[in-house]
């Protein structure tokens, strides 16, 4: 019987927490955007004229095929992260794309139309150098892979290895490139830096070394950066020191040293300090490269040169020219040259490669986004028009990883914001009020200036409200006549305003490349973007909302702290999160490395929260630093505490602010680094509300929660990684007093540890090294049956340590990130959002993670609705909030409360971005979509009339009775 009741209780709980969306709700309040990352290789499918395929391989180990007309995916393959999945090389021939992966670990061939794997070969170990398609008799048949010590030769159709040969003297010679002109020979070129070049000639059939020679080149340090192979096998190199070009015929046995050609003889000069770049093209791997090549002399100067009969002659001088690229269609090879006109516009022109003559009507004028940086690379797709002239399309890659696809005469076909594949920080900001609401707010915001003007102002604002309401009604009437689909109006920055329940917000995203985005959360439209130039690639960002939208007429204000990882020097970027514009506030100069930043709950006279920045000498800089702020800081100094973590020394220290804005050390905790190292420190979220102070027990008593807002969760990992001795340490430390509230060790556990710290609980996930599985553990802190001081919490006055309850569970899936839902008032029950490596996001009810889950069911635990303990955590597919919308490589989850208590907004970011809403306790404050308004109103009216009639009838009856 007991078991039955338990099961019923269990199923009731499940019913209660059932999430999942209905079929017709798909895409209603969620959206997903997929990205690929920074493009490293891009190839157009030139196999057929009508092909729309564009193959790309990126630094995020993504290999994808894009539709060049729309910018959407045909297909996308996401490989392993890190060096294991690193794409070394991408080659394409016809329908086949050959990819070398993981520093020459794997060789794969993909079918490009559907993205299916044709074959895969595991290569011998050795660091990858180069790969090339090799053709013979006009047909591409093989692929050669050059490693540090060996070269292997594979069949293109099956991937089988035909031969593999060790390279001669590979310990001293750095082999770097392969060249084949389609004549049955394969050349492997290597260099001994500042000494000589080595050329090894292999026979294609069996890998026999036909010839091996070394040529003096004392000036050369790297083949790859300074050489190229042009026309029938001529190695061309450039040396900036002697300002000269060198040529060498690869196949000849007579030529013993390189032929030097001074650039001066061609009237050319390399800009000082610039490493000149040679760009050649080999349209068909089965045929030798063209005799024409580009030489880049300075960042904005290219020359098209031609090699003819042992002589080099310039064809055309391009100045200014920032980017050049060759493209081939049919028999014609063209060169596209991009030159910047000014900061926002550039032009691209097409030239014949053979003659250097300009093709007529091929100019593309491209107006760049002023906030997008400079163009970085250009990929050209040339095609033959009906009249046999050459047309072309260009994909431009910008500094901020944006891809723009251009068509003549300058139309932007599509743009992809690939910086969004690497979001590092985000915040959600409320949208501003509508014009009329703002007007009303403004009325109260301004200071009173006499009775009459106030009355007039009130009247005018009321009139504006009336006007707006009429306009709204008119719009409703007008829209009602139009079909549903066309009503949906585009979101633009002008029409942006807060909706009734504040469900629509502005997502401010900071990406690793230094580009900021403002994305409207309902549709995912990018409303503004801003590229921060001169950002070190490995900078750390911290985004803070200093002023929310609530303080009209003051605009909202976000502050981005950018910290250089190497020097520690910080800088501030202050901007308006709604429009993305930089604010005109004076930003304090930060001459010293910043080690901590904290946003205080103090506000200045303009309602901006005060940001404190602490430098490496423990000096404090306040921003904004007006007199008012400094005065407030002085008054509150003795109650402003902060902590610092030095994980390299295992040191946590607490400081207090002094009246003169200097700081004093007040506590120190040192966790010796010999045994364990600090991996993460997390406080609680500032905007979190806890609705109930305690939990009602089965016997109607109350167990009070230990709600310490200053509590820090410190997680350590052991330095010993042996599976029996490794452990994960959990410390709960009060950030004000430095008191260690709880200290626990999870034995036989290993990282990576993901954890959430909220309310009175902490949930962490670790890897059990002994049983090889993921485990969840939950810690809850309670004060006990009595509160020490129920009115206010002070870390300085809470002498009794809390009771700590803990329980662990097995979680049968690998986890990549963890977050908890957050709602406006904290009434709604909490769910844990678990980002799985499989790309799903699981919404796990917190009641499953409750250390009070009983082993044996009792009357009291039933009363409390506690689920009996089960060691394994269930995973139900209806708990996946992103149903089949897989989010690749979830790295972070962001939750924000909405205006509705039941609703929490969730953004998952990683390679993809996914936004949705979750209702942890279902939509208890919203009427259903299919709510029957007609029925309820007809019943109401019916009742109303029935009472009226019956009242009348009763009156008549009474009157009649009185007459009787």
């Amino acid at each position: 019987m007991a078991w039955l009741v338990v099961r019923i209780a269990f199923s009731v709980c499940l019913l209660y927490t059932a999430l999942a969306v209905f079929e017709d709700q798909v895409g209603k309040f969620d959206w997903r955007q997929q990205f690929i990352g920074k493009v490293r290789f891009a190839l157009f499918d030139t196999h057929s004229q009508a092909s729309k395929k564009l193959l790309v391989a990126t630094d995020k180990n993504v290999f994808a095929s894009l539709n060049s007309r729309t910018g959407d995916f045909f297909w996308r393959h996401v490989d392993k992260t890190g060096p294991e999945g690193h794409i070394d090389s991408l080659l394409m021939d016809g329908q086949d794309a050959v990819v070398v992966i993981g520093n020459g670990r794997l060789l794969r061939s993909w079918e490009t139309t559907v993205g299916g794997l044709k074959w895969e070969t595991v290569l011998d170990t050795g660091s990858f150098q180069a790969a090339a398609l090799v053709g013979v008799q006009g047909f591409v048949k093989y692929v050669a892979v050059l490693k540090k010590t060996a070269i292997s030769f594979h069949d293109l159709t099956s991937g089988s290895q035909i031969w593999v040969e060790n390279l001669p003297d590979s310990d001293s010679v750095q082999y770097q490139t392969i060249y084949s002109g389609g004549n049955g020979l394969l050349f492997v070129l290597g260099v001994v830096p500042n000494s000589h070049i080595v050329i090894v000639e292999y026979k294609m059939e069996d890998g026999e070394i036909m010839n091996k020679k070394s040529v003096e080149a004392a000036w050369m340090s790297s083949l790859e950066s300074s050489c190229a192979v042009i026309s029938s096998g001529i190695l061309l190199c450039v040396d900036p020191i002697t300002q000269s070009l060198y040529t060498l015929l690869l196949q000849s046995t007579e030529q013993k040293d390189m032929k030097q050609i001074h650039l001066q003889t061609l009237d050319l000069e390399v800009a000082s300090g610039f490493q000149p770049v040679l760009t050649s093209t080999q349209p068909n791997p089965a045929q030798p490269p063209l005799a024409e090549f580009f030489l880049q002399l300075s960042p904005d100067h290219h020359i098209l040169l031609q090699h003819k009969d042992g002589l080099i002659a310039p064809l055309r001088d391009f100045s200014p020219s920032n980017l050049v690229a060759f493209a081939t269609t049919g028999e014609k090879t063209v060169a596209a040259v991009m030159s910047l006109k000014n900061d926002t516009a550039c032009s691209i022109n097409l030239f014949s490669a053979e003659t250097g003559r300009r093709h007529l009507d091929t100019t593309i004028i491209y107006h760049m986004d002023p906030s997008g940086g400079k163009p970085n690379r250009m990929y050209v797709h040339a095609f033959l028009k009906k009249d046999d002239s050459v047309g072309y399309r260009v994909m431009v890659q910008m500094e901020d990883h944006t891809l723009t696809f251009l068509q003549q005469p300058g139309r932007v076909v599509w743009t992809r914001e690939e910086a969004l594949a690497d979001v590092v920080a985000m915040e959600m900001v409320d949208l501003p009020l509508t014009g009329t609401q703002a007007e009303l707010e403004g009325e109260f915001g301004k200071k009173a200036d006499g009775l009459l003007p106030m009355v007039l102002k009130r009247l005018s604002s009321q009139f504006i409200l009336l006007q707006a309401w009429l306009a709204h009604l008119w719009k409703l009437f007008y829209d009602a006549r139009k079909p549903r689909s066309s009503v949906r109006n585009e979101v633009t920055i002008e029409t942006l305003s807060r909706d009734e329940f504040n469900l629509q917000k502005m997502m401010v995203m900071v990406t690793a490349s230094g580009k900021l985005f403002g994305i409207e959360s309902k549709s995912g439209t990018v409303l503004w973007k801003h590229f921060l130039e001169n950002i070190n690639p490995n900078s750390v960002f911290k985004l803070m909302v200093q002023r929310t939208t609530a303080h009209f007429p003051h605009p909202p204000q976000c502050t981005l702290l950018i910290k250089d990882k190497d020097t520690g020097l910080g800088s501030l970027h202050v901007f308006n999160p709604i429009f993305g514009k930089r604010s005109h506030t004076s930003v304090p100069a930060l001459p010293r490395p910043i080690i901590q930043s904290l946003l205080l709950p103090l506000i200045d006279q303009d309602y901006a929260k005060v940001l404190l920045l602490i430098d490496d000498q423990y000096k404090v800089t306040a921003f904004p630093s007006t007199k008012n702020v400094l005065q407030q800081l002085q008054d509150k100094a003795s109650s402003i505490f902060f902590y610092l973590v030095e994980s390299s020394q295992g040191k946590l220290s607490g400081f207090r602010l002094r009246k003169d804005l200097s700081t004093e050390l007040i506590w120190e905790v040192v966790i010796p680094t010999e045994a364990q190292k600090i991996v993460a420190v997390k406080g609680k979220r500032v905007n979190e509300h806890v609705h109930s102070q305690g939990r009602v027990m089965g016997d109607r008593s109350v167990l009070y929660k230990y709600l310490n807002p200053n509590l820090l969760a410190v997680v350590t990992e052991s330095t010993d990684t042996h599976q029996e001795r490794s452990f994960v340490g959990i410390f709960l430390i009060d950030g004000v007093t430095g008191r260690i509230v709880h200290e626990a060790v999870q034995r036989k556990a290993r990282g990576p540890v993901h954890f959430v710290h909220s309310e009175n609980w902490m949930v962490y996930v670790y890897w059990n090294a002994k049983f090889r599985r993921n485990e969840f553990s939950v810690l809850e802190l309670f004060e006990g049956a009595e509160l020490y001081n129920s009115t206010v919490f002070s870390s300085l006055d809470r002498p009794h340590p809390p009771q700590v309850l803990q329980q662990s569970y097995i979680f049968p899936a690998p986890i990549s990130t963890l977050e908890a839902t957050l709602t406006e008032k904290g009434i709604t029950s909490r769910h844990l959002l678990v980002g799985l490596t499989s790309g799903n996001i699981l919404s796990l009810p917190k009641i499953f993670l409750d250390p009070r889950r009983p082993e044996v069911v009792s009357e009291q635990s039933r009363e409390e609705n506690l689920i009996p303990y089960a060691p394994e955590m269930p995973i139900r597919t209806e708990w996946f909030i992103n149903y089949n919308q897989t989010v690749s490589r979830v790295r972070g989850l962001y939750t924000a409360p909405s205006g509705l208590e039941s609703t929490c907004l969730v953004v998952a970011y990683g390679l993809d971005i996914y936004q949705t809403r979750v209702f942890p306790s279902k939509q208890f404050d919203v009427l259903k979509d299919d709510y029957d308004y007609v029925l309820i109103s007809s019943v109401l009216f019916g009742l109303f009339f029935a009472t009226m009639i019956s009242k009348r009838l009763a009156e008549v009856k009474l009157l009649n009775r009185a007459w009787r």
């Binding site: 120190e668 010796p672 340490g729 999870q746 034995r747 300085l796 303990y869």
Partner: protein, 257 residues
């Protein structure tokens, strides 16, 4: 020298000993052999220092000595001095300006075998408001936290009660002797998922089911004699009265589930 004089002059207070030394890692247990414990029987002591200054610049003075007994059965005593007249006055003054009372101990390893291994550089500090110390009549609780290998990683001090209500402490005697509770706390071992008891319980459950099939009948099997007539009755009444029947049938099916 200072220590000696203070010890001879003043009454030393032995404070309460509490010991919470839970199971430590096997790796540590194996290392501490019996003879080491024997030779190190006297244990060792570590100075506990405090500082309270009106200008709030820490100047640490000796407050007492924490005496540890080495080995597994680790215990700690605190022998400390009385506050002098001057100290009492300073403490009161510091309390009046809401200054801090700080304590510190050097970083030590309680499980190291030799003196040289024990000490390492630096101190661990903690603080309380001086007024709360005064108002609690010098009754404080000091806790030393250690990590898995016996290193002291943090010290915490609280007074009971911990509040500052501005109560004047008249009696000088109240501020002479510390009433201190000292303890050493080692990390607790967090529980792992309890699979074994769960399986055991499930097995017991199954056994019970097998032994006593009568009790484990389903809801329907047990109460069918009540449900069937009820459903029949509702269906009959539904047949007679169309409008009532729909509602009744719905209720019956709902109840049945």
């Amino acid at each position: 020298m200072a220590t000696k004089r203070a010890m001879s002059l003043l009454l030393s207070v032995l404070s309460t000993i509490t010991l919470l030394w839970t199971e430590l890692g096997e790796c540590n247990n194996g290392r501490i052999s019996e003879d080491v414990v024997d030779t190190d029987f006297s244990g060792f002591s570590v100075p506990l220092e405090h500082s309270f200054e009106v200008d709030d610049v820490p100047r640490f003075r000796l407050r007492g000595a924490l005496q540890f007994r080495g080995g597994r059965e680790n215990s700690v005593y605190l022998s400390q001095n009385q506050l002098t007249e001057k100290d009492r006055n300073t403490l009161k003054d510091v309390a009046a300006v809401d200054g801090l009372y700080r304590i510190r101990v050097p970083r030590v390893n309680l499980q190291a075998d030799r003196q040289t291994e024990r000490q390492s550089e630096g101190y661990l500090t903690a603080f309380i408001r001086a007024c709360s110390l005064v108002e609690s009549h010098l009754s404080d609780v000091i806790t030393l936290h250690t990590d898995v290998s016996g290193y002291v990683i943090g010290i915490s001090v609280v007074t009971i009660p911990g509040s500052c209500r501005g109560i004047e402490v008249e009696d000088e005697v109240d501020l002479e002797v510390f009433n201190t509770t000292v303890s050493v706390v080692a990390p607790v071992t967090a529980p792992a998922p309890e699979t074994a008891p769960f399986i055991e319980r499930m097995e017991q459950e199954m056994e019970k089911k097998g032994k006593n099939p009568q009790e484990q009948k389903s809801f329907f099997a047990k109460y069918w004699m009540y449900i069937v007539p009820l459903v029949l009755f509702l269906m009959m009444s539904g047949a007679q009265d169309q409008s009532g029947g729909g509602a009744g049938g719905g209720a019956a099916s709902g109840g049945g589930r």
